[in-house]
């Protein structure tokens, strides 16, 4: 079988070069057609964090980088729930922040509604921010303890200048609060975050993100701080909003079992790379990458009769400061062979819509 997919071919093979050389001219390139139809897309997206070093090595001029996100490509269609899954340190949160331009992009392009937004100045980002929002993990930290619920939810409306009419602001705040089931909203308007339970706080955070009618929302582990019995409720009312408003939704999680139940498509990340991507059912039921297979085998199943197979991989995720060369997974891979240590596997389409970056699958 011959795989050819121009889009996911590596465009820059000098992956060890300093981050800013390479493809500076990317903005001159054409926008690929898939990205024009998609709402959000990342093309060759990279984020390298420079590491503080001692005086001597700074004289030597060898700056070291943590390659948090290293050349990833994907897009999210309108109204799609796209899951980004991986262990801690895999770069999934950084990816979410890069798409929203909350972190500076080292290299590569981000498309929003067919436009490259990776280079536009911060001032021009402001109107776009109305259309893209984020929900953070910890509702105990993401809400200002000195603001009332009304002020918290109204703040995006005020910043965006969507309405100056106080009455209308209150109406919209009440409306969105009842949509996320913080009911009756009148009772909550003048309360402070500490008076609310964790679940209610996270609902307020959801309301704050959705009050400006965004078209694209990133949710970074939105329910991992909540208890199981409350989690499903918050998740369901969030997904209802996503569906009702046809929002493109990126769901960042380490919990594949949860991702399976809510995502349309799923990308598995490992050390800053996407190793597998495709429709959720295909990725979960027919995982092709050895890492995805191990990840799925490692998830405990709430069924005492289920016999767990052996987890084929050992060890822990290596430091992103000094990731393994070529295929980053080869140090833990049970099937690794010589090619894996010398050549980086590209992300190729193994079956329609299902991409994997592994030399085994290419053979």
């Amino acid at each position: 079988m011959k795989f050819s997919l121009k889009l996911f071919k590596r465009t820059n093979d000098k992956s060890n070069g300093t981050p800013l050389e390479g493809k500076k001219k990317s903005s001159d390139q054409e926008v690929p057609s898939e990205y024009q139809d998609a709402l959000v897309g990342a093309l060759g997206l990279k984020k390298y964090f420079a590491i503080k070093q001692g005086f001597l090595s700074s004289l030597a001029g060898t700056q070291a980088y943590v390659k948090a996100v290293d050349d990833i490509n994907f897009y999210v269609r309108k109204g799609e729930v796209f899951g980004l899954a991986g262990e801690s340190g895999s770069g999934k949160s950084t990816t979410g922040r890069l798409l929203l331009r909350l972190t500076d992009i080292t290299d590569g392009r981000v498309f929003f509604k067919g436009k490259d937004i990776s280079k536009i100045p911060a001032r021009q980002m402001k109107p776009l921010r109305r259309e893209m929002q984020i929900i953070f993990q910890d509702p105990y930290e993401s809400l200002d303890p000195r603001m009332t619920i009304k002020e918290i939810v109204a703040e995006p409306l005020r910043i965006q200048g969507l309405t100056k009419n106080e009455k209308e602001i209150e109406e919209r705040v009440k409306q969105i609060l009842s949509e996320v089931e913080v009911v009756p909203p009148e009772e909550f308007l003048h309360r402070f975050p500490h008076e609310l339970s964790g679940g209610q706080r996270q609902r307020v955070a959801v309301a704050r993100a959705f009050v400006v009618n965004p078209e694209f929302v990133v949710a970074d582990e939105p329910v991992s701080m909540l208890d199981v019995s409350i989690r499903a409720e918050v998740l369901n009312s969030m997904l209802e909003l996503v569906q009702k408003r046809q929002v493109s939704f990126i769901y960042i999680t380490h919990d594949l079992a949860l991702a399976k139940h809510i995502c349309d498509r799923l990308a598995i990340m490992y050390l800053g790379k996407i190793v597998e991507m495709g429709p959720t059912d295909q990725v979960i039921n027919n995982p092709l990458h050895p890492y995805t297979q191990a990840l799925i085998a490692a998830i405990p199943v709430p069924d005492p009769t289920h016999k767990r197979g052996n987890i084929p991989i050992s060890g822990e995720i290596p430091s992103p400061l000094n990731p393994p060369q070529a295929c980053r997974f080869h140090t833990r891979c049970p099937y690794a062979f010589s090619e894996c240590t010398t050549l980086e596997p590209p992300l190729v389409e193994a079956e329609p819509g299902h991409f994997v970056a592994c030399h085994m699958v290419r053979k």
Binding site: E87, S88, S197, G199, D227, V228, S229, I230, R231, A232, E233, L235, N236, H254, D255, L256, A257, L258, K260, H261, T280, D281, I284, A294, L295, I296, A297, A298, I299, P300, V301, P302, D303, P304, T305, H306, R308, I311, I313, S314, E316, I317
Partner: protein, 321 residues
């Protein structure tokens, strides 16, 4: 005879606003070589039970009623000196949060050594060193790493080191408080596998505390489901998963996503756990229960067997006699 028998254990915390009823009338037994899972959400009192077992409660916590029988001896009545002889040699604990439970300024070997020396004062230096190395090898850490500091260990290795430390004085009962919770799934699976192997090898009895039903499903023979300071369902793991009786257990199982099986909409339990300063009268689950009846708001149900003797439930839906 069970190794550990807890009868009517009631542990409360004293606050300015009254007693926080974190653990009320808790009963369970753990046999030799058996693992019991204590499952519940945050704030349900599961860690309070664990700390009561070792009498390690913070200063506001009191055991107000009940017995903790370890090989027939009541720990509640013991004074500090007596309990110190039980701790670690009889019952040891693996604390929650592998990242913070180790002292950052001491070598791993010194920290395990300390546990050995306190409980076996006469042991020679070389013998203690051998024990440290043997313990580390047993939990899958190479002995050359013994003189590392905690920051040189990864999260999974720290958790392993904590397990090694808990096993330093050959305890009969191991209390594991959320082992692996802060770790990634692959590492978590390795830790669970290690605990299962150690349990079989050393014939350990375990009290396994977790909020995650899927973790206890594969590690424990017996389960106790806690809600708002009380055990609401108690029995062997298979029958609880096959036929959950308490509405809370049913709700919890419905809210749990599984990687196996078809996609489904997750069902949640409406409402939130009560404030334990003044828990609801009657059954503590009644404000959230879909089957609530009048009697639930007045009378507290007993933890009684249904159908079989080894499956108990704390609910008015089942005959109360």
């Amino acid at each position: 005879m069970p190794v550990l028998e807890v009868e009517h254990l009631t542990t409360n915390y004293k606050t300015l606003r009254g007693w926080v009823k974190a653990c009320e009338d808790v009963n369970f037994q753990v046999e030799k070589g058996e693992a019991m899972g204590l499952v519940g959400e945050s704030g349900c009192g599961k860690t309070t039970v664990a700390l009561s077992l070792l009498k390690l409660l913070p200063s506001a916590g009191r055991i107000r009623k009940g017995k903790i029988l370890f090989n027939g001896n009541d720990l509640v009545k013991m004074n500090d000196n007596q309990i110190r002889k039980i701790r670690w040699k009889g019952i040891a604990i693996v604390f929650q949060g592998a990242m913070n439970a180790l002292n950052p300024v001491f070598k791993i070997s010194d920290q395990i050594n300390e546990a050995i020396k306190i409980h076996e004062p006469g042991v020679s230096r070389s013998a203690a060193r051998e024990r440290v190395e043997a313990l580390l090898e047993m939990v899958g850490i190479d002995k050359s790493r013994a003189d590392n500091y905690p920051h040189e260990f990864s999260g999974g290795m720290r958790q392993r080191a904590l397990i090694a430390m808990a096993l330093a004085a050959n305890p009969e009962v191991l209390v594991a408080d959320e082992p692996g919770t802060a770790l990634d799934v692959v590492v978590q699976a390795q830790i669970l596998k290690l605990l299962r192997e150690l349990k079989d090898k050393l014939n350990l009895s375990m009290v396994f505390i977790s909020h995650d039903l899927s973790i206890v499903a594969e590690t424990c023979e017996k389960l106790a489901i806690m809600y708002a300071g009380q055990i609401v369902e108690y029995g062997d793991t298979k029958s609880i998963f096959e036929k959950p009786l308490h509405p809370y257990t049913q709700g919890l199982l419905g809210a749990f996503p599984s990687i196996k099986g078809p996609r489904k909409k997750l069902i949640s339990i409406p409402g939130q756990p009560p404030d334990l300063l003044s828990p609801p009268v009657g059954c503590r689950f009644n404000p959230r229960c879909p089957y609530v009846m009048d009697i639930c708001k007045k009378e507290e149900p007993g933890l009684l067997p249904v159908d079989q003797q080894n499956h108990l439930v704390h609910c008015h839906l089942y005959p109360q006699h």
